[in-house]
C-alpha cells in the first residue's frame, strides 16, 4: 500500500500557509523519517495526514482512496497517531490507555481478542509489569512508550509518530526505532516518523523527507539526502559525516551566525 500526499497545503491563519505544496509517497514495509528545524511544519503535516486537521487543499490518499472519503473508523484503522506531548487523565491505568487503540475495531464492547492484542502491544514495548499502574505514576519516557503501545494496539497500516523519541533515554530511543522497524517489516506496515536526531534518521530510515519553511526541501534514501551541504542549508549548522563499520555518523559542531 502507498500513502501518497499530493500538493498538500495547510495553514492556521487565512493569509499564510504553514505547509506549501507538499508531495511525497510512503510505501508499506518502509520507515520514512520527517526531519527539519523547529517550526518547519512537521507536526502540522502529521496532524493533517492523521485527519486531525482538515486539509486546505491537495489530497492525502492511500492506494488512490482519499482519506477524507473514508469513514472515521476506517481512517483510524489506516493511520495511527502518536502525539509529541502525550495527554492523559488521572486514574487511567496503562492497560486502559493501550486498549483505547482498539476503539476503531469495537462494535459494542472490547472482546477477548482486543484484550489479547492490547496485551501483546504492552509486551512489545516491555511494559507488561506496569499494566495495572496509573499512567500518571509513570515517568515521561514510560508514558511515551504507553502511547506507542496504544498505537500498536490500533494496528494501522501507517504508523505516524510525532517525535516519539523526545522523552526517551538513549537505549530506549534505539530500542523503539528497532522495534518499530521490525514491526514495519513483519506486518507490512509503514512508519512515518518526525525526528530531531539526524543520526537516528540516518540509521533507521529507508527514506528521509526534509522539510524547510513548509516546503519539501529534499527526499530520498538517508545517505543521499542527509549531506553536509543540506544540513548547512536547512539547519544552519556545520557538520561532518563519517562512514564507519556501523554506517554513517553525523557530527554537528558549529552553528552559523
Amino acid at each position: 500500500m502507498i500513502l501518497s500526499v499530493r500538493n498538500l497545503c495547510q495553514g492556521y491563519s487565512k493569509r499564510k500557509d504553514t505547509l506549501k505544496d507538499i508531495s511525497f509517497e510512503a510505501e508499506t514495509g518502509k520507515v520514512v523519517s520527517l526531519i527539519g528545524p523547529n517550526g518547519c511544519g512537521k507536526t502540522t503535516l502529521i496532524k493533517t495526514i492523521c485527519g486531525i486537521y482538515d486539509q486546505r487543499s491537495g489530497t492525502v490518499s492511500v492506494d488512490n482512496t482519499p482519506l477524507c472519503s473514508m469513514g472515521r473508523k476506517e481512517t483510524a484503522r489506516t493511520v495511527g497517531y502518536v502525539p509529541q506531548n502525550v495527554t492523559y487523565s488521572g486514574y487511567s491505568t496503562v492497560f486502559d490507555t493501550v486498549l483505547l487503540g482498539r476503539f476503531p475495531y469495537v462494535e459494542w464492547t472490547y472482546t477477548k481478542k482486543d484484550i489479547r492484542i492490547a496485551s501483546e502491544a504492552l509486551k512489545c514495548m516491555g511494559l507488561e509489569d506496569l499494566s495495572g499502574r496509573d499512567i500518571n505514576h509513570l515517568s515521561g519516557g514510560q508514558r511515551q512508550k504507553v502511547f506507542i503501545a496504544r498505537s500498536l494496539a490500533q494496528d494501522p497500516r501507517f504508523y505516524i509518530f510525532d517525535e516519539p523519541t523526545n522523552s526517551l533515554d538513549l537505549k530506549n530511543q534505539l530500542n523503539m526505532m528497532k522495534i518499530m522497524k521490525d514491526i514495519v517489516k513483519e506486518k507490512k506496515a509503514c512508519l512515518v516518523v518526525a525526528l530531531h536526531d539526524l543520526n537516528l534518521a540516518m540509521r533507521y530510515s529507508d527514506e528521509v523527507i526534509i522539510l524547510k519553511d513548509g516546503f519539501v526541501f529534499d527526499n530520498g534514501p538517508p545517505e543521499d539526502v542527509i549531506t553536509v551541504d543540506t544540513i548547512e542549508k536547512v539547519y544552519g549548522v556545520r557538520s561532518k559525516i563519517f562512514e564507519e563499520n556501523e554506517g554513517f555518523f553525523i557530527h554537528l559542531y558549529e552553528s552559523i551566525d
Binding site: Y91, F103, W108, T109, K112, I115, A118, Q154
Partner: protein, 389 residues
Amino acid sequence: MNGPQNSDMIRFSDMLSEAKTDTSPEGIYVAGLRRKLLFIIIISIALICVAIISLGIGAVNIPVSDTVSAIAHALLPSHFAGPENEWYSTILFQGRLPRIVLAITTGASLAIAGSVMQGTLRNPLVSPFTLGVSSAASFGAAMSIVYGSSVFGALYFTQTTIGDYSLSFSTISTMIFSFITGMASIVLVLILGRKKDTSKSTIILGGVVVGYLFQAGVTFTKYISNDEALRDITLWLMGGTWNASWGSMIVLVPVVLITIVLLEGMSFKINTLSAGDDVASNLGVDVNKLRRDSLILSTFITSVCISFTGIIGFIGLMAPHICRMFIGNDSRYLFPASAVMGSLILLSSDTISRVIIAPSQLPVGIIMYIIGGIFFIWLISRKNVGEYW
C-alpha cells in the same frame, strides 16, 4: 478478520467467577473489571438499604419489617400481605416515597453530569456547580417564580392531571426557564474556553465568572420581587427535596432515566478523550460533536433536577471523585457508579436532615456539605490525590 463471536465476548459470569491468580496483563484487567462491578453492586445495595430505612423514619416511625412488607405488597399484592396498619402504606407511598425518589434522581443526575463534564473537559475541577450551570439554572427558576405568570398568563396556574396525579404548569415553567439559562451558561463557558490551547484553569475561571453573572441576576430578581415571590425564591435557593410530589416525579424520572442511558451510551467514546483530543479524533471520534452532545445532555438533567430541588452543590464534584478513587477512570463503569454514589450521598443527607431536629427539618445542603466535606477531606488525605491529575 474474525467478527466478534459470542465466545469472544467477556461475559459477566467471567468477571464474577472465582478470582484467578492471573498476573498477566489480561488477568489484571479482568480482575479490575470484577472489582468495578463489585463496587457498583455494593453501593447499589447500600442505596436500597438507605432507601428502606429512610422510608421508615420520620414523624411516624415505621418498623423496617412493616416497610418491607408494604413494598412487597405493593409490588406483588397477591403474594404478600401488607402491613397491619393500613395507613402505613399511605404514609410510605404518598408521603415519603416521592421525596426519596426525588433525592435519588437528583443525586444521580448531578453526579453523572459531574463525571461527564470532568471526562469530556479532562478537568477534575469541573461540575455543574463550578461551571456556573447551577447558578444559571437557579436564575432561570427565580425568573420563572417572578415572571412565569406574566409570560405564560393563565396557563401558569393550570393543573394537568397524569393518571391520578396532578402536575402544576408552574413546575414545567420552572424546568423550561432553568434549562434555557443553564444552556446559556454552558455555551458562555464553552465560548470563553473555545481556543484550542485553553488551559484547565481558564475553563474554571470562565465558569466562576459566568456563575457570578447569573448570581447577580438572582440577586436582582430577589430585589425587585414582592414578598411572596421572595419567600418562594429564598426557600427554593436553600435546596431541598420538600417539593416532591408524584405529579412531578412522573415527568422527572423518565426524563432523567433516558438521559442517563444516553450518556452511558457515550461513555465508550468519552473514554478516548482521556488520551487527548488529537488521539481521540485519530481513533475515529468526532470530538466536537461528542463534547457538545454530552455537555448539552448533562446540562439538561442538571437544570431539570435543580428546578425541583434548588441549588444542591458539591455532589457533582464529590461523587465522581469518590468513585474514581475506588474504580478508576473508565467511564463505562464510572458513570453508573457515580450516579449510584450521588443518590446514596443525597438520600443519606436528606434522611439525616429530616430527622436531626425533628419535627422541623434542615435544608439538605447543610448536612451534605458537612458529611461530604469531612468524608472528602479524609479521602484526600488518605490517598495523595495532588498527583492524580
